[in-house]
């Protein structure tokens, strides 16, 4: 394919790859980048600031596609903690499992995890969309402020603890809800949201199978009668 650049992390350093992605890729007119042998490298393709398709063949360490803007990053493997943390825009797909804090504080764009996500998936979410094909661990959606999470499998303890305005949709079992999270009725708009995000992710489930979880908004203000239960 034209405008394709390939790196092999077995022979090129992480610094060289990221430097190229930040400083040279646009000037070279490259729109597709393939990265081989990541071997668990941290911070791969973090800080992207231009549109490009980046495909990584193998497992990555922490912070893959961290703070992503514009780029579309695919990991053909598992991802370590903080994948796509603080993403602003663009698209990140992990074909395997994602470790803790996937898409933490992400403000825009969409993250798809085809396998399971560990604890704290979508923690402090600030506007991005997350679709998880498998299960999520405890404290997922903790303090999530805005954005949508679609969980096709089960959720661990304290799902959506201290939620603000983000909305979580779950298809499987929920071990427990966190403080101030509550089940709410699915409206047409909710089913449309779930259908849209399942479509983006390429997952074939019936939106009617999902439940909606949102904030009861009881922690938004100090309450002298609450005996500080927050």
């Amino acid at each position: 394919m034209a405008h394709l650049k390939q790196f092999d992390l077995a022979v090129t350093t992480l610094r060289e790859v990221n430097h190229y992605l930040h400083k040279q890729m646009v000037a070279d007119g490259v729109q597709s980048v393939s990265i081989l042998n990541p071997d668990g490298a941290h911070s791969l393709a973090c800080g992207m600031n231009a549109p490009a398709d980046i495909e990584i063949d193998g497992h990555v360490g922490y912070y893959v596609a961290g703070m992503n803007k514009y780029a579309s990053v695919t990991v053909n493997g598992n991802a370590g903690p903080g994948a796509a943390e603080n993403m602003m825009s663009g698209f990140v797909r992990v074909r395997g499992f994602a470790s803790t804090s996937a898409a933490a504080s992400a403000r825009g764009g969409c993250m798809v995890i085809e396998g399971d996500a560990s604890t704290r998936c979508g923690i402090s979410l600030k506007g991005a969309d997350i679709v998880v094909g498998g299960d999520v661990g405890s404290f997922s959606g903790f303090m999530a402020q805005a954005g949508r999470m679609v969980i096709c499998g089960d959720a661990g303890d304290a799902l959506g603890d201290s939620l603000y305005e983000a909305v979580i949709y779950v298809r499987g079992k929920v071990k427990s809800l966190g403080a101030d999270a509550q089940y709410e009725t699915m409206a047409d708009a909710d089913r449309a949201s779930v259908a849209e995000l399942l479509g983006v992710a390429g997952f074939k489930h019936d939106p009617a199978e999902f439940r909606r979880i949102a904030s009861a908004r009881k922690l938004y203000h100090w309450n002298a009668d609450a005996n500080q239960e927050y």
Partner: protein, 463 residues
């Protein structure tokens, strides 16, 4: 009438003073605290820092030059204040004209006018200012030549474009007023602009996270620092800021994690809103924290490679000089700068005219000299407010001039002391130039008690 005559006679027998004896355990302050708690069921929240008396830089004095050392001419000979931070890994270290920086304070806690004033003053003085929990405003980026961008647990408004436009990144683990606690901004200050920047509903009582969302512990921090270095292509210094508690261990871990600069904030450090019990009862004094931080850096043989910034109740040029002599590379000031802007002043300045703010202090139930009502957002002098009318009371150019004058005064005091100690560079001030006035300060700072060679609790290593 019977009662009156009984009281009268009791007075004659000299017992009335016993009926007015205040309990040391349940004094008026404590009674007020208990009754307030009973009435509200909620802890007290307030601004600024610890009010209790703790050993501090006032408990140290310099040994000026005399026969054994000779001084520099106070008004003539050169005395450098140039300060370079972030020399360990960053391609572009931060170069400052003075070792006095402006501490991280959020837009949200402070108005946009104040952030602009701080940027202008810092730029004029050749020093840096710092963002806070709430993101970077255009006003402060545009007005600041050197701007430090904080990465906090909340990540409110955190933006990679701001990471790239900053001159250094400061990862905040904690702050001196509340080590172990997250930020707090009460609903009255979460106006539409603040809410939008933080992605929060307007008017919520916002309580920030106390742990970072994407890393836990020093091993993770090392990886997080490398991510920030990769994103900034290794150009910008990475600071790590800790609230002063187990400073010796925390500073060592921060250095091991790869920080270029360590910021240690002592318990006198300020806050815009925190539980009073937290402000007064968690953390150690700045003086003790500085000693431990310097010990940690020296223990790792990193003096001169990793720079140290100390903050938490630094007020005067003498404080700055003492901090540097004890081993800090620079200081950071928050509350002193707010006071320079007019915090706790009787008046605010509008187009050059002083206008009384006394009625507004009274409305808050306080008075100039005692106000710590930053949390209310009703700052009578327009410093810690998001109110559209009150914020006009601090005009950026007036504020900038006052902060510039304050920093200039501190720097003149600093060089005056340095010259008197015979130093051509303020960074040549050394521990040997200091002695302590109290046993407590001597023990915490590990300096001899004045007029003696006694350092309490310390025996010099035998050769």
């Amino acid at each position: 009438m019977t009662t009156d005559s009984n009281e009268h006679s009791a007075g004659h027998h000299g017992h009335s003073h016993l009926s007015r004896e205040e309990s040391a355990t349940l004094d008026r302050r404590t009674i007020d605290y208990v009754q307030r708690a009973a009435a509200t069921g909620l802890y007290e929240i307030r601004g600024l820092g610890a009010k209790r008396v703790v050993p501090n830089f006032d408990d140290l004095v310099f040994l000026g030059a005399s026969l054994s050392r000779y001084p520099l001419e106070g008004y003539r000979e050169k005395c450098s204040t140039r300060t370079v931070l972030g020399t360990r890994f960053a391609k572009k270290p931060v170069e400052l004209a003075i070792p006095i920086t402006i501490a991280g304070m959020s837009f949200g806690a402070l108005s946009a006018n104040v952030k602009e004033a701080l940027g202008r003053a810092a730029t004029e003085m050749g020093t840096s200012t710092t963002t806070g929990d709430g993101g970077m405003t255009r006003e402060e980026r545009d007005s600041s030549r050197t701007l430090i961008y904080q990465c906090l647990p909340s990540r409110y408004g955190f933006d990679p474009d701001d990471v790239r436009s900053a001159d250094a990144i400061e990862i905040v683990i904690g702050q001196g007023a509340k080590p172990g606690g997250g930020g707090m901004l009460l609903g009255q200050k979460v106006n539409p602009r603040v809410a939008a920047m933080r992605t929060l509903p307007e008017g919520v009582d916002q309580r920030s996270a106390s742990r970072h969302p994407d890393w836990t512990g020093p091993d993770d921090l090392a990886i997080k620092i490398r991510e920030l270095r990769e994103i900034t292509d290794w150009e910008k210094p990475i600071y790590v800021k800790v609230g002063a508690t187990r400073v010796f261990n925390d500073v060592k871990l921060a250095v091991h994690s790869g920080a270029d600069v360590i910021v240690v904030d002592g318990m006198q450090g300020g806050t815009a809103a925190t539980q009073t019990c937290f402000i007064e009862h968690v953390g150690i004094p700045t003086l003790a924290a500085l000693r431990q931080a310097v010990d940690a850096i020296e223990d790792l043989n990193m003096r001169g490679k990793v720079q140290l910034i100390i903050s938490g109740g630094i007020r005067t040029g003498a404080d700055v000089a003492k901090a540097i002599a004890m081993g800090a590379d620079a200081v950071s000031i928050g509350q002193g700068v707010l006071v320079a802007l007019g915090c706790n002043s009787e008046t605010y300045v509008q187009d050059g005219q002083h206008v009384s703010a006394l009625a507004d202090y009274h409305r808050l139930g306080t008075a100039p000299g005692f106000c710590h009502h930053c949390h209310t957002g009703q700052c009578p002098v327009g410093v810690t407010t998001q109110d559209a009318l009150l914020e006009q009371r601090l005009q950026p150019l007036t504020g900038a001039r006052r902060v510039r004058n304050y920093l200039k005064t501190l720097n003149m005091e600093l060089t005056t002391i340095a010259r008197a100690c015979g130093k051509q560079d303020v960074h040549h001030l050394e521990r040997e130039d200091l002695v302590a006035l109290s046993v407590e300060a001597a023990a915490m700072a590990r300096l001899p008690l004045a007029g003696t060679s006694w350092i309490p609790g310390y025996s010099a290593p035998t050769m």
